[in-house]
Subunit: 135 residues, 2 copies
């Protein structure tokens, strides 16, 4: 399945670095800064679908760190990392999968939209993303 998916999908942009471990992705600060913009867009689309009108908002560190923990990804990182670094990790992972062509915005927002509570929505998306990356 993995090799099939790799032949179908490809990197979106030349600046994308390919990593061999989840830990490297979760702790890449540059990825996290771009991931913040990416995550705010998919969160805004989730809210837009929920409210029935275009809506812009910022995903909170509290919610994202909760989702990271629920998805079982928190344990891959140092126990000393604060909530903000945990949210960064979630954002880095989400944008990494998108940059690698392993996720699309439409399908990610559909996954989010199948959940009522936002932390459950992002936990589910992070779990799905981890599976897709298969590292």
């Amino acid at each position: 399945v993995r090799s099939m998916s790799n032949t179908r999908k490809s990197k979106r942009f030349t600046f994308t670095t390919t990593y061999k471990t989840l830990e490297k992705i979760l702790t890449d600060h540059n990825l996290a800064t771009l991931g913040d913009a990416y995550t705010n867009l998919i969160y805004s689309l989730y809210l837009s679908i929920k409210t029935g009108k275009p809506t812009g908002a910022k995903a909170s560190s509290r919610m994202l760190s909760k989702a990271l923990k629920q998805a079982g990804l928190r344990d891959l990182m140092s126990s000393r990392l604060d909530r903000h670094s945990q949210a960064d990790a979630a954002e880095a992972l989400l944008v990494y999968a998108w940059l690698q062509g392993q996720a699309t915005i439409t399908e990610s927002v559909n996954i989010l939209s199948s959940h009522e509570k936002v932390a459950d929505a992002f936990s589910s998306l992070l779990t799905d993303t981890k599976k897709k990356l298969d590292l």
Copy 2:
């Protein structure tokens, strides 16, 4: 050309309202809030390509209002609107085209990346977007 493109492309999400005039799009405040998240992502991708590493940033109202004027779209709006409302208009137009399936992030970032100065980049993208919408 237009009908061909309309058969190929379709709305991405159910909350999208279809407008018949550019003026309606440019002054939709809800679209502008979602457009802010969308625009920050494509601006961040433009910077990531330029710098060769993932980068997150917020597109400024100053730059976007300048780009709107350069693209000839400023004249469609009330002359009393301040810089922030002009930036909102640019953001609303960009996300509208994407929601309608008339633009993709990859092609939009490619258009941006063919310009050195960021206001020129967004002016070019706005001009291209206006043409694609054909209103």
